[in-house]
């Protein structure tokens, strides 16, 4: 996981660089929450471009980060989501609160 905070936009960019499953989410969750509480961004953008695999653990992970960001007044968006991963997000209905946007 790599992250970058763009101060002028209050945008926290989090690039996930590993496969997302129950094993890896623990680490992603810890690191992402750390960054979100530290910067209190207006928006958190998760970049899935380097994610080659995700199972349902990713749904809980993204909803959990939404809760953290939302509590601090921010929103969450996702970008570069591959079709196989999009399919899982669609099934869960999570896209209604955490939209997928085109990469900047």
């Amino acid at each position: 996981m790599e992250s970058e905070f763009l101060k002028e936009d209050k945008l926290l960019l989090i690039k996930i660089t590993e496969e997302i499953d129950h094993h890896s989410t623990e680490k992603i969750r810890r690191m992402a929450d750390n960054e979100i509480t530290r910067y209190m961004p207006r928006k958190v953008l998760f970049d899935f471009g380097k994610v080659s695999f995700m199972d349902s653990a990713g749904i809980g992970m993204i909803i959990g980060r939404y809760k953290t960001a939302n509590m601090l007044g921010g929103t969450v968006e996702m970008t570069n989501v591959k079709p196989s991963i999009q399919k899982i997000f669609e099934m869960s209905g999570v896209l209604k609160i955490i939209p997928v946007v085109k990469s900047a």
Binding site: H23, D55, I59, G60, I63, S84, M91
Partner: protein
């Protein structure tokens, strides 16, 4: 026809979360002989990952135990059986329901069985309290027309492309 099935493999490993990736990659490598599309292979990997994660979190509740996988190939179908000797599922009907989770505090979405059911063609669950759970899933890998260029470019055969 030589026998009931044409190929078989067995796998046994400890219920550690870093084996989730090991299990799905191994089963996908075995399934590759059916020449699935990248999409079909991703479906199989996801379903295996869900079942193995269930055994680790719910079956063994993160205590150490053994998870067994038996995969078989019959003609154009792969059958995968994932079993544990964990605590078993109290109410299988309830567990199958979308969004149901017995562990909401762990950020579990409750989508595990729903994903297995929609990504595979058949899913059977046998569970006995105190004895364990066995999930059996089947997926038919459709033979594709070699000359169907449209489909090929969309679904790039796993054998012919590196991912």
């Amino acid at each position: 026809m030589k026998g009931l099935y044409e190929n078989e493999m067995k796998l046994e490993f400890l219920s550690k979360s870093n084996n989730e990736a090991f299990a799905r990659i191994t089963v996908a490598a075995f399934a590759a002989q059916l020449d699935p599309t990248i999409e079909e292979l991703a479906d199989i990997k996801t379903a295996i990952s869900e079942a193995v994660t269930n055994s680790i979190i719910h079956g063994y509740e993160n205590k150490e135990g053994k998870i067994k996988i038996i995969a078989k190939i019959f003609a154009n179908t792969i059958e995968v059986e994932i079993s544990d000797a964990g605590k078993g599922i109290e109410n299988v009907e309830m567990a199958r329901k979308p969004l149901y989770t017995s562990k909401p505090n762990l950020e579990r979405s409750g989508m595990g069985f729903t994903i297995m059911e929609s990504f595979m063609d058949e899913v059977h669950i046998e569970s006995v309290l105190g004895l364990g759970t066995k999930v059996t899933m089947k997926k038919v890998i459709e033979k594709q027309d070699e000359f169907d260029d449209n489909k090929r470019s969309r679904n790039c055969r796993s054998r012919n492309c590196i991912n």
